[in-house]
Structure formats: structure tokens, C-alpha cells
């Protein structure tokens, strides 16, 4: 009888732990795709964005996997992101020109995937940047990119990231360096979606009010 009571108490305890411990509210299961996304922007605070007048944007998206360029694509989604960037740059007062017309700013777009240990290091992304976006593309063969604001960022990764890099072409020439002046990074669920490309790019620009020519 005594043993039965002890077993009963133990069973009650286990049920209690199972029921209530199992009721832990899982943040990932209580999150929409939109809520899962984060928008990260970094910029060189010494740069005056009003000094740039024109820009050009890459005609495709570089697909970078585990630090290596896989290919450059122009899918419907890629085109939607490129168009969204054009719309926001125009709204901020910058004039779109071809890359042969010596733009002040160049914009590169990359889809970044990492299948390694769930950790991504952005300095390594920028470390190999020349191999994704050869400065030759902008007419500056033999130059190197330089990102003064690159900071180390480690996150658990479940999906890819979309990276938008803005580089200063106007001042390239003296020291064989093309300086990155702004980077926008989008991470989270279902980011590669043409129907949400505009709102995602707008989020990057909304938190970057300093990108403005007509100020």
C-alpha cells in the first residue's frame, strides 16, 4: 500500500512535469515568416551620402555558398529585389546610370548560403568579396574592396541571407581600393520571395535615413 502511494506520487510528478514542462511556449513556433526576419544595416559614418549623385546596380545576383561564388542569377525574385533597390534609390534622390557612365555608387546583391556548422562569419564574406563581385565589373580591374565597418556577426543559421552592398566608385582610384559605404543584410524565413522583395528592401532603407542625396 505504502509502495503504491510512492509510485502514485512519482507518476503524478512525472505527469505534472510532462504536462506543464511540455507547455513551454516555443518562440519559433509562435512566429510568422515576417516576424522571423531581421534587417541589419552597417555603414561608414564618416561618409556623406549627399555627396553621391548617381549609382549603378548589378544586373544579377551572386549566389555565394560556403564562401564561394556558385553562379550569378536573374530569377523573378532577383529581378524584384533589383527593382526594389532602384525604387528606393530613386526615392532618395539618386540617379540610375549604366556602369559605363562612371556612377558615384555601385550596388551589388548577393544571396549567401552557409551549410557549415550553423555559424556564419561576415568578415569572411567580405574577405572573399573580390571573388563574388570582381572590381573589374565596375571597370576597376586590379582594385580591392575595403569595408571599414565590417563587424563580426555570429548567428544560428537556418536559411540563407540576402546581402546588399553599396560601394564608393566616385573616390576609387587613389589607393586602388573601393570602399564599401553601406551594407544591408536580410535574414530569416522565406526571404527569397518576389512578392515581399519590395517591403524587405524598404525595411533596409527605412532604418538608413542617412542614405539621401536630396538632403
Amino acid at each position: 500500500m505504502k509502495q503504491n502511494k510512492i509510485y502514485l506520487a512519482f507518476a503524478a510528478g512525472v505527469v505534472c512535469i510532462g504536462l506543464l514542462g511540455g507547455c513551454t511556449k516555443d518562440p519559433l513556433k509562435n512566429m510568422t515568416n515576417e516576424e522571423s526576419r531581421i534587417y541589419i544595416t552597417n555603414y561608414d559614418s564618416t561618409v556623406h551620402f549627399g555627396s553621391f549623385k548617381t549609382y549603378s546596380i548589378s544586373d544579377s545576383v551572386a549566389v555565394v555558398s560556403n564562401g564561394a561564388l556558385q553562379k550569378k542569377t536573374l530569377t523573378e525574385t532577383d529581378a524584384a529585389f533589383i527593382q526594389a533597390l532602384k525604387d528606393n534609390m530613386q526615392e532618395r534622390g539618386y540617379q540610375l546610370v549604366t556602369k559605363d557612365e562612371h556612377p558615384d555608387l555601385g550596388i551589388n546583391i548577393s544571396s549567401v548560403f552557409n551549410n557549415q556548422t550553423g555559424v556564419i562569419s561576415y568578415p569572411s564574406y567580405w574577405g572573399y568579396y573580390n571573388s563574388y563581385w570582381d572590381p573589374y565589373y565596375w571597370g576597376y580591374g586590379g582594385y580591392d574592396y575595403y569595408f571599414p565597418y565590417a563587424s563580426y556577426a555570429v548567428y544560428q543559421i537556418r536559411e540563407g541571407a540576402l546581402s546588399v552592398d553599396m560601394v564608393d566608385l566616385k573616390d576609387a582610384g587613389n589607393d586602388k581600393k573601393i570602399e564599401g559605404v553601406w551594407n544591408g543584410l536580410i535574414r530569416g524565413e522565406a526571404i527569397f520571395n518576389a512578392s515581399t522583395a519590395a517591403s524587405q528592401v524598404k525595411a533596409l532603407f527605412d532604418q538608413s535615413p542617412y542614405i539621401r542625396n536630396n538632403q
Partner: protein
């Protein structure tokens, strides 16, 4: 901390000198559903919502008719999601929906003092002190960072027992406790909370 020690010593000394009644030498188990509300820094910086996902359970041995000593374990799950907001970083900004998810599992040595062991309604006071297993994750979007570990916890309490029969050990229990839970990580300075609970107590021996 010092006041907790004094409180515990007084409880033990007082209890040992009391006459022996029906509860002495009985081993009882008490299981309660618990609701916990963050206070102070925990409430202002991490979670300001009450947790309805909690329990506590103890096994106590009746040293005297009034004093019982034993072990207690508990669980509480705290969760809060903050709407999307832009946060400044060293070189820029991050826009994210921020979610705090915190679980506490205190495991403590427990003392409970019955103020009216022969009453129809038996008020009691008690205190527990021990370790607290904390799991804290802060999500920016779906990306988590956090810190888990074992910390100190202490919980003074007051409550009532209503026995189901005149001389039986089984009873309905209800009470309130303050959970003192130091913890430091990021903006967090403590996980202090107060809680109410209700459940049943029954004899194991």
C-alpha cells in the same frame, strides 16, 4: 540573505521544541499549479507578462507536528514577444521582432511551519533555498542568443492547507511566494517574481 538564514534557524528551533501531533514523522507530497508574475528588473527589462505555465512540488517530512522539512522543485516558463523595432548597434541598426523566452527550475531545501496543525484551515509559512536552473534565450527574429546555468534561489511563502478529513494528511493547499532569483546577463539583473499556487497534499508514509 542573512535574514533568510535567521528565519530558517528560528523556524527550526521553534519547531523542534513543539509538542508532537498527527503530522509528525509523516512523509507528504504536495503538487501545485503555479502562476508567476515578474517583478523589478525582470518585469521592466525582460518579461512583463504573467506566466500561467508553472508548477511546484515538494516532499516534506514532518519533524514535529508543526515543522516539516524536505525538498521542493518547481518550473515556470516566461515568454514575451515585442513588436518589430529598430535597435542601434555599434556601426548601424538592426530591425527585429524581439522575443524573450525564460525557463526557471528551482530545486531547493524546504522548510514549512504549520501555524495551526489541528485547525480546519491550517495557515503555514515556509521558506526554501537552493539552486535555480535557468534557461534564457533572446530571439532577434528567429536568431537566438542567451545564457543558461545554475544560480541561487530562495522563496519565502505563506499559505493555507484545508485537510480533506479531520486526522488525514491529505489536504487542499494554496499559497503565495516570493521567488528571489539573482541572474545576470545582458540587460537582465534578476529573475525575481512572485507567484500564487494551488494544489493537493497527500501522504506518502
Amino acid at each position: 540573505m542573512k535574514s533568510f538564514k535567521i528565519f530558517l534557524i528560528i523556524m527550526v528551533c521553534t519547531g523542534l521544541g513543539l509538542p508532537v501531533f498527527a503530522q509528525q514523522q509523516k512523509l507528504t507530497m504536495n503538487i501545485n499549479y503555479a502562476v508567476n508574475t515578474p517583478v523589478r528588473n525582470f518585469k521592466s527589462d525582460l518579461v512583463n507578462k504573467t506566466s500561467f505555465r508553472g508548477w511546484n512540488a515538494n516532499i516534506l517530512y514532518g519533524v514535529t507536528d508543526k515543522l516539516s522539512l524536505g525538498l521542493e522543485a518547481g518550473f515556470a516558463d516566461y515568454y514575451q514577444k515585442y513588436p518589430r523595432q529598430v535597435y542601434d548597434t555599434k556601426g548601424g541598426s538592426v530591425s527585429a521582432v524581439l522575443t524573450n523566452s525564460i525557463q526557471t527550475v528551482p530545486v531547493m531545501i524546504k522548510g514549512r511551519f504549520n501555524l495551526a496543525p489541528s485547525g480546519i484551515v491550517q495557515p503555514y509559512i515556509g521558506v526554501g533555498a537552493g539552486g535555480n536552473f535557468v534557461s534564457y534565450n533572446q530571439y532577434l527574429g528567429e536568431f537566438a542568443s542567451g545564457k543558461s546555468g545554475i544560480y541561487f534561489a530562495a522563496s519565502p511563502e505563506a499559505g493555507i492547507m484545508i485537510p480533506f478529513s479531520k486526522h488525514g494528511a491529505s489536504a487542499f493547499t494554496a499559497g503565495a511566494k516570493y521567488n528571489f532569483m539573482p541572474y545576470t546577463y545582458g540587460d537582465a539583473k534578476d529573475l525575481n517574481n512572485w507567484g500564487v499556487y494551488a494544489g493537493i497534499k497527500f501522504s506518502l508514509k
